[in-house]
């Protein structure tokens, strides 16, 4: 389908929200903190296709969608629509862009004005853009209502008289009123029940064929994405980690995050209980202070050990989690002494150190370590029990620093690029992913 130029080209789009940015904060000299909602996202959408943007809540997928259609001011980056730079558009060109691009919102309850009839709601974009005569607009609205599966008699009804699925149809009719080329669908079915979701998905499919629409579908629901999209981009913490054709991405996911996402979805079938799955531990880190290097490394089961380090994958993951906690100082030392044997709030006295270290290790690590690593961990924890956080972190970093934290993997080129060191230059230096699956 990639004949010619893409309809939409997003290049290194960034959108930060600023915290502590009020006048008062400035008076007190607080530094504004960026929340990196979208942090350097690039992708292309070709005419007639559906690109899916999938990720968990807070990964920046909706912000990306809103920023690229200029509902949010971008922090940085470039978006081209039909060859025109979107953020530079003004006047008539901007009006034309706003006719060509429409958006359907997630919540069918808050995205319709409760005091406007359905007819007025769907007609509003026509009024705004001055399309046709009064009569033509009215006829067009009736056509649209019928087209999305409502009846033209419902023209004078108010939104509260409709169910969620019907309201979403109204939102779709409104978006289609000005004959757009490109529609951003922001979680169009996530407020709906499955049976109604299926109706709306079928409708969107039909409308795409009928009006030659290009879609960007933003969703957290992987099965919806799989069903509707031609290509999929997976987002994590403001970045795209993998883009590819839908069958390739779902059939042979390359990024460990994509793989974990797919494994996490419970299947509605009787063999679900026996299915092998590896669930991710931990939570998504804060976009205020994203991890260095690969942002997924704090949860990645495949995080790459340094060259030449002989270590099991699970053990290495556990050690990296321990390091992460020590670096964030997220270990409470006063709790080591459950029996109140040691007083280490101000640093343990010398003779207590081995016992305190053992207690701490017992609490922080689940599995037995091979002797070599045990020695390293013991050294680090001994520093920790003495209250030397930095020294403990340094000791572990010296031994276990991973390529994943030093370098941010780039999203390569090609039809199915992935931002992961397992698939980049680093892959050649290590065993590579094949031996780990």
């Amino acid at each position: 389908m990639s004949v010619g130029d893409p309809l939409v080209r997003v290049d290194d789009l960034r959108k930060y929200f600023w915290e502590h940015d009020s006048l008062l904060d400035r008076l007190f000299g607080d530094e504004p903190v960026p929340v990196r909602a979208v942090d350097g996202v690039s992708f292309e959408i070709y005419e007639g296709e559906t690109l899916g943007l999938v990720g968990e809540s807070g990964c920046g997928k909706s912000t990306a969608g809103e920023t690229m259609v200029r509902l949010q001011e971008p922090t940085d980056g470039r978006v081209e629509f039909d060859g025109e730079p979107v953020f530079a558009l003004e006047g008539e060109a901007l009006d034309a862009f706003r006719r060509a691009v429409q958006i359907v919102f997630q919540d069918p309850f808050s995205s319709l004005d409760p005091r406007m009839t359905v007819g007025d709601t769907v007609r509003e974009p026509l009024d705004v853009h001055g399309v046709g005569t009064e009569r033509e607009r009215r006829d067009r609205v009736r056509d649209l209502l019928e087209r999305v599966g409502l009846s033209a008699d419902q023209f004078d009804r108010y939104p509260h008289e409709f169910s969620g699925g019907q309201r979403q149809r109204i939102g779709i009719a409104r978006a289609l009123a000005v004959e757009p080329e490109f529609v951003v669908l922001d979680e169009p079915t996530s407020a709906l029940d499955v049976s109604v979701q299926a109706q709306v998905l079928n409708l969107l499919d039909d409308l795409q064929d009928e009006f030659d629409l290009t879609y960007l579908l933003i969703s957290h629901d992987l099965s919806v994405i799989r069903h509707v999209c031609d290509r999929v981009a997976v987002m994590y913490l403001g970045e795209i980690v993998e883009i590819g054709p839908v069958d390739e991405l779902f059939g042979a996911p390359k990024h460990p995050y994509t793989r974990a996402l797919l494994e996490s979805v419970p299947r509605a079938s009787t063999d679900e209980r026996e299915r092998d799955r590896e669930t991710l531990a931990g939570d998504v880190p804060s976009p205020r202070d994203p991890p260095s290097g690969c942002r997924f490394r704090t949860r990645c089961p495949m995080v790459i050990p340094p060259e030449g380090l002989d270590i099991e994958r699970e053990t290495y993951r556990e050690l990296m989690t321990l390091r992460e906690r020590i670096e964030r100082r997220d270990v409470s030392l006063e709790t080591v002494d459950t029996d109140e044997q040691f007083d280490i709030d101000d640093g343990a006295s010398d003779e207590d150190v081995p016992a305190a270290t053992a207690a701490l290790k017992d609490r922080l690590l689940e599995s037995e370590l091979p002797p070599r690593h045990e020695a390293v961990v013991d050294e680090a924890l001994a520093e920790l029990t003495a209250g030397n956080w930095a020294a403990a972190a340094d000791r572990l970093r010296a031994e276990y620093e991973s390529v994943c934290e030093r370098e941010a993997p780039g999203l390569g080129d090609g039809s199915h690029p992935v931002a992961c060191h397992l698939h980049g230059a680093a892959a050649e230096r290590t065993d590579g992913p094949s031996s780990w699956t």
């Binding site: 699925g165 996530s190 299926a198 069903h227 996402l261």
Partner: protein, 427 residues
């Protein structure tokens, strides 16, 4: 029918809401049997009455709702002993009919016999208390309740006006004894919260959604309940966190052997967790059975429609086969005495104009379906014409059906939009 290992038997349960628009039959004549130690799932769309069923069992139905009919039998020999003398009508062997017991006894069962986890962890915690305090409070309440079984009088006396005034200033501190705090920390550890000692002193806003849901599970486990009712426990969570929480519930169930009633709209969660499942539609269970019965050998066209509506994650991009129309209104005057799914059913026949009982269906002994297709095969010659139920999606236009269900209240004349999304589940 009576098997000794049933822990809970709900019979003919009806819960209704008396609203300005009229009487809403959220749950009608529902029968459920839950075996000790199993995970029973109830699946359905919003407005099907699944949450109301859970709340009825917990006795948490709020006005204008009321349990109007039915029995909830709970198998507990100790409880039967304790209340047998005072309420002989409520006891049958080791079974106790909870609906015959007075409020204060039912109160004392909450937490120790039944416990519930809710959908939205963020709004279920008190934002002004630390998580540890709230857990300790639950522990303490349970401890006092078990020290003084079947009576909450001691607690109510203690709760005077003065203590109310005090409680607004010093919330639940009086519940936090060193022992209850220790137990709270143990509970946090049990549900896999790292560094529970530190975490216990944090406020709910410092927790992530998944951690709060873990904390809520910890709170529900404080009283070591026999039955845990989980109402959409993972709906507000992302898939990777959902997987963690489901794993946790699975492990806890295996460890403690408790019974879980899992309410969800997600068939994948059902498949992941449950032993047996009931599919709810318009206030009744339309099909029930083991997982295999419902997923592979289902009889009811609604079950088929639900399964057909889910886009397949494994591929095979075909058209979805959704159920036409919307979830029906449960307003009493609009409910006809016929199969409630008939107006959306692709296989509706003349037989469907009579309200079907539950028929046993092929498969395991547990498999039952409220559909004539369990008994007969589909006969096109007797199919209802497509416009039988009129153009509108509401069954209100249906004049062919039999008399309305007997009803004490004269229904108010008012139109009502099809209730489809009551805000029960978002995302």
């Amino acid at each position: 029918m009576t098997t000794p290992d049933d822990i809970l038997r709900v019979r003919d349960l009806s819960t209704r809401f008396f609203t300005q628009e009229g009487q809403i039959n959220a749950v009608s004549e529902l029968d459920v049997r839950i075996e000790r130690g199993e995970v029973f799932g109830i699946v359905g769309e919003s407005g099907s009455g699944k949450s109301v069923t859970a709340r009825s069992i917990m006795d948490l139905v709020e006005s204008p709702g009321r349990i109007t009919d039915g029995e909830i039998w709970f198998d507990d020999a100790e409880l039967a002993d304790a209340v047998g003398d005072d309420y002989p009508d409520a006891v049958d062997g080791t079974l106790v009919n909870l609906l015959e017991l007075p409020e204060r006894v039912r109160d004392s069962l909450r937490g120790t016999a039944f416990s519930m986890i809710f959908q939205d962890p963020e709004s279920s915690f008190n934002p002004t208390l630390t998580v540890g305090e709230q857990l300790a409070e639950a522990v303490e309440v349970q401890r006092r309740a078990s020290a003084n079984p079947r009576s909450t009088r001691a607690r109510t006396r203690e709760y005077s006006l003065a203590s109310y005034a005090l409680s607004t200033v010093l919330p639940s501190r009086k519940y936090v004894t060193p022992e209850s705090r220790e137990r709270a920390i143990e509970l946090l550890e049990l549900v896999g919260i790292p560094d529970p000692v530190k975490r216990a002193d944090e406020y709910p806003h410092e927790y992530s959604g998944g951690m709060l849901q873990r904390a809520m599970i910890a709170q529900a486990l404080a009283g070591e309940p026999d039955v845990l009712i989980a109402d959409e426990p993972t709906t507000a969570l992302d898939v990777t966190i959902q997987a963690q929480i489901l794993d946790l519930l699975d492990d806890l169930q295996a460890e403690t052997g408790m019974t879980i009633l899992l309410i969800t709209h997600n068939l994948g969660v059902i498949a992941r967790m449950c032993d047996r499942v009931g599919v709810m539609y318009a206030g009744e269970i339309v099909e029930r059975g083991t997982l295999a019965d419902v997923f592979d050998d289902h009889v009811h066209p609604y079950t088929e429609g639900l399964l057909g509506s889910i886009p397949d994650l494994e591929g095979a991009r075909g058209r979805l086969e959704p159920i036409p129309g919307n979830v029906p209104s449960l307003l009493d005057e609009e409910m006809a005495d016929r199969c409630r799914f008939a107006d959306r059913c692709p296989k509706a026949m003349e037989d469907c104009l009579e309200h079907p009982p539950e028929y046993p269906a092929a498969g395991s002994d547990h498999h039952e379906a409220r559909c004539v297709l369990a008994e007969t095969t589909y006969d096109e010659t007797r199919a209802l014409s497509e416009d039988h139920f009129g153009e509108t999606e509401r069954p209100a236009a249906d004049k062919h059906a039999g008399p309305e269900e007997p009803d004490e209240e004269p229904p108010e004349e008012q139109s009502h939009p099809p209730t489809e999304t009551t805000g029960g589940e978002h995302q």
